[in-house]
């Protein structure tokens, strides 16, 4: 390996955003034909470092060498020309365009006219070569997230990249999809490509990578050979401390049905059958996990309960009353809380202050308003109290929520939703994109609610999360609940098969 210079050698990279130092002299050395993990908590500087390598950010200091040659990457164009490709965490895809159009965009190689059919053929060829399958003529907005990621990979391969950067690629994938991704990644290495794999999930590091660089606070915290290390060592390097063991579950304390759904059907926004007859119950003091690949109807289920989505048939009973056709306001009046999937668009009004977000939905009744007038003293006192109670940082209720980190934004959502002793909480992907610390925090809070006797419907595509929190686990596939298991019987393998629609012969 020492014979040829490393394909990437970044030394002493510094990047500042105003007063914030995102990278503080970070190094990264990647050898050719290896799968290299770049690991660290959120905010450690992983993405910033990769954006520097990809030409999106210009470093304030430091050097970049590619195969020994010092380069200055001024734009993604430079990076692409140097054989670097990036599979972005937030897909850089254009929803109304087709797969083929997305793949070739910017490098169409077809003269002035597009020639859709020719493009499609060219993309198919590429797919065959790398064993990646997705219909080139479908619009990206009609694809599930797992397939959208393949489009991202195709984009990079189409440009002949030698070095592929995967930025948190598994966040939105099912276990099966993750496995398929790993197959693809290994195939890429075998075809001679080099892969940088950004993640904060230790399991993935051990499953697929050859070598590891750990970042913490914009600096290198360790460079390791995957074979020669273990999970706790990496975790310690990442977090700078030992991790707490997952909270132990106490048995279900109370009984009584909090939510009962019978024969629920609904169409998706595009008019497809999204829910094809859902039956489930959630008891007080119980967490029911809904596992499944995104896009199998989980979001519609959650939204139907809340009243954001109109069911076409079926009943949703809370306290004996059918709320299937109630609007969110009336549903919430029955003690239903909701932690939505996309906290930035759905959970929060980003331009509002923390205090104002804490009263969203509660603004029109006491104690926050009296006779149609807001009580600003109560609102700000409430803001200070909840910000403290839910550990929002900075602990300033007058801060604009859009400026907070993802974890703190989620704390604001939780603070609002959990502070009024709800009877049922519908939670959708509560820890997506959060770092380990914030994830721990969210989990603790949910378990606290359960302990209080609240029913929790937890929708998540993170199996770790489902298994760590749920008392029972229901698996959703194509608009149906294909199985409901006690948590103890739900092995990762079994859940994975169920999520992929294999209901028969699933090993217990």
């Amino acid at each position: 390996m020492s014979a040829s210079p490393p394909i990437v050698e970044m030394r002493g990279v510094v990047k500042r955003f105003g007063d914030l130092v995102a990278l503080d002299g970070a190094d990264l050395v990647v050898q050719e034909r290896e799968i290299h993990a770049l690991i660290g908590e959120n905010g450690a500087g992983k993405s910033t470092l990769m954006n520097v390598l990809y030409g999106l950010y210009r470093p304030d200091a430091g050097t970049i060498r590619l195969r020994g040659q010092e380069v200055r990457l001024r734009s993604p164009r430079d990076a692409i020309a140097s054989g670097i490709g990036m599979i972005h965490q937030h897909f850089m895809l254009i929803p109304p365009l087709t797969v083929a159009e997305n793949v070739v965009l910017g490098d169409e190689r077809s003269g002035p006219m597009l020639g859709e059919r020719r493009l499609a053929a060219r993309v198919r060829e590429l797919e065959d070569r790398f064993h990646i399958s997705v219909d080139p003529e479908t619009k990206v907005e009609d694809l599930p997230l797992g397939l959208q990621q393949r489009v991202e990979i195709l984009k990079v391969l189409y440009r002949g990249s030698e070095l592929l950067i995967f930025d948190e690629p598994t966040a939105v994938l099912t276990p099966q999809e993750v496995d398929e991704l790993f197959v693809i990644v290994r195939q890429l290495r075998d075809e001679g490509k080099t892969v940088i794999f950004i993640t904060h999930k230790l399991r993935e590091v051990f499953a697929v990578t050859d070598r590891i660089t750990v970042l913490r606070d914009g600096r290198n915290a360790g460079n390791l050979l995957t074979k020669a290390t273990n999970a706790s060592e990496i975790a310690r390097l990442m977090v700078g401390r030992d991790l707490k063991p997952p909270a132990a579950r106490t048995p279900v304390q109370s009984s009584g049905t909090a939510l009962e759904i019978r024969g629920l059907q609904a169409k998706s926004d595009r008019g497809a059958e999204a829910l094809k007859g859902i039956d489930l119950t959630v008891n007080a003091g119980e967490i029911l996990g809904i596992a499944g690949v995104s896009g199998n109807g989980q979001s519609e289920l959650a939204e139907c309960i809340l009243g954001l989505h109109e069911p076409t048939a079926g009943t949703i009973l809370i306290g004996g009353a059918d709320i299937a056709h109630d609007d969110p306001k009336r549903t919430r009046e029955r003690g239903v809380a909701y932690v939505p999937e996309d906290r930035r668009a759905e959970g929060l009004v980003l331009a509002f202050t923390v205090a104002d977000n804490f009263i969203l939905g509660k603004q029109d009744h006491a104690p926050f308003s009296h006779r149609g007038v807001l009580d600003s003293d109560v609102i700000s006192a409430n803001g200070d109290r909840l910000a403290k109670e839910f550990d929002v940082r900075p602990p300033n209720a007058r801060a604009i929520v859009g400026n907070l980190s993802g974890g703190n934004q989620q704390k604001v959502v939780l603070g609002r939703e959990l502070s009024e002793q709800p009877k049922l909480i519908v939670v959708n992907q509560p820890t997506r994109g959060l770092d380990i610390g914030s994830t721990e925090y969210v989990w603790e809070r949910l378990l606290e609610q359960r302990a209080r006797g609240c029913a929790v419907l937890l929708v998540s595509s993170e199996l770790d999360e489902i298994r760590a929190l749920s008392d029972r686990i229901a698996v959703m596939f194509e608009g149906r609940l294909v199985a409901t298991l006690p948590a103890a019987e739900a092995t990762e393998e079994r859940l994975g098969l169920l999520m992929a629609g294999h209901t028969e012969g699933a090993p217990a």
Binding site: F17, G18, L20, A22, G43, K46, S47, T48, Y57, Q89, H90, F91, P95, V140, E141, L145, Q148, D167, E168, A171, V172, L306, L308, H309, E310, D327, P328, K329, R330, T331, R332, Y338, P340, E341, D342, R344, A345, E346, G347, L348, V349, L350, A351, F352, D356, I359, L360, G361, Q363, D364, F368, S369, G372, V373, L374, S376, G402, N403, S405, G433
Partner: protein, 381 residues
């Protein structure tokens, strides 16, 4: 259930928030320094135009200022010009706050004026304490009705409010021609000025400055209504749950929806409220200035209002200042023409540059923000 204008997102992340039509979130809270600077820059650019036209900029501007504020009479006239702009400015701003672009203040003002003018003439014999509330109420209701149509079409049929407001502005112009030229409201008066029957004395807003103080001042009690409207605007938006809901819908429609705030309902509400402000403006012009509805009496209040709202950053005080500035341009501009011989169209050019520099102010703002280190939200991961 409700259609939202939020862009569709692919993965879990979305574009970092950026100001858009619906999200003019900036406020005068940052202080009036930048708008004042913008006006100054615009005046300098305007001066170049005056020079190019072969005139003396100093003479032009001193005439402009003198015309607008030179005598107590001029000051009261500048205020009279500003009053309708305050009301229509509020009408544009309140809709902006809920994420809607209300180009329709013009039409809403006219409907309010027609409704008020009709009531004022129909019940002309009623005493003021009865008639005035009726006229005010009808003005507001008329505007609210016309604005409400826009909200309803948006809520029920998803029709973009820009289309409806533009079309309704034109529609009312022709309806007004009919009503006042050959229709049910047409007055039988000498030489056929197209106008409605005069409103009763009880529907007139009295002049509030006695002749002993300012001779012949027209400044009428409408200024109190305008001031009240500004307070109502502020109170509504920042001190009531409804205002909170309107702002929440404007800044995050989906978040509002899941919290039980129905965006469609609030779009209807806010357009009716906007129309109410504009309609009150129309009523004030009829009751305070004209005493009847003249055909085409407002050629541009509703359009200037967009500039006023934008210049005033959709904030109550900002709108008042912007309306005063535009009122000064209107009244002072006439004097500039008669005394400095400078075309009144140069005033329009200067107004344009004021707005343009205000728009470009975002640059100044973003530069200062960058320096204070507000990092891009997605920069860290």
């Amino acid at each position: 259930m409700t259609q939202l204008q939020q862009p569709a997102t692919t993965g879990p992340g979305t574009e970092s928030p950026a100001p858009s039509v619906g999200q003019l979130t900036f406020q005068w809270a940052a202080g009036p320094a930048i708008p004042v600077l913008s006006v100054a820059i615009a005046l300098v650019i305007g001066a170049v135009f005056v020079l190019l036209s072969g005139n003396d900029p100093v003479a032009a501007y001193s005439a402009l200022v003198q015309g607008a504020f030179g005598t107590p009479y001029d000051i009261t006239e500048t205020l009279v010009s500003a009053i309708p702009l305050v009301l229509t400015g509020l009408a544009v701003a309140v809709a902006f706050r809920t994420g809607l672009f209300n180009i329709g203040a013009q039409g809403q003002l006219l409907v309010g004026a027609l409704a008020a003018g009709w009531a004022g003439a129909q019940f002309a014999t009623l005493p003021g304490f009865l008639l005035m509330p009726i006229v005010i109420l009808l003005g507001i209701t008329g505007g609210a009705f016309y604005g409400g149509i826009v909200g309803l079409l948006k809520a029920l049929r998803g029709v973009n409010e820009v289309i409806t407001t533009i079309m309704l502005n034109y529609t009312i112009v022709f309806v007004m021609h009919w009503l006042l030229q050959a229709g049910p409201m047409t007055a039988q008066n000498a030489f056929g000025t197209p106008a409605s029957t005069p409103i009763g004395a009880g529907a007139r807003l009295p002049v509030i400055i006695p002749n002993e103080l300012v001779l012949f001042s027209r400044l009428h009690a409408g200024i109190f209504l305008a001031a009240l409207a500004v307070v109502v605007f502020w109170f509504l938006l920042w001190r009531t749950p409804l205002g909170y809901q309107l702002r929440a819908v404007g800044l995050g429609a989906r978040a509002a929806a899941q919290a039980g705030i129905d965006p469609a309902l609030h779009m209807v509400l806010v357009m009716a409220i906007a129309g109410g402000f504009a309609g009150l403006g129309g009523m004030i012009e009829v009751s305070g200035v004209f005493g009847r509805v003249y055909d085409g009496f407002s050629s541009s209040y509703g359009f200037d209002a967009i500039a006023v709202a934008l210049l005033g950053k959709n904030s109550p005080l900002g709108i008042v200042f912007a309306a005063l500035l535009f009122g000064a341009f209107v009244h002072g501009g006439a004097y500039m023409q008669s005394h400095a011989g400078i075309s009144s169209n140069l005033v329009a050019i200067i107004q344009a540059f004021v707005l343009f520099v205000i728009a470009a102010e975002t640059l100044v703002r973003s530069l200062t923000r960058r320096r204070h280190g507000r990092k891009p939200v997605e920069a860290i991961a």
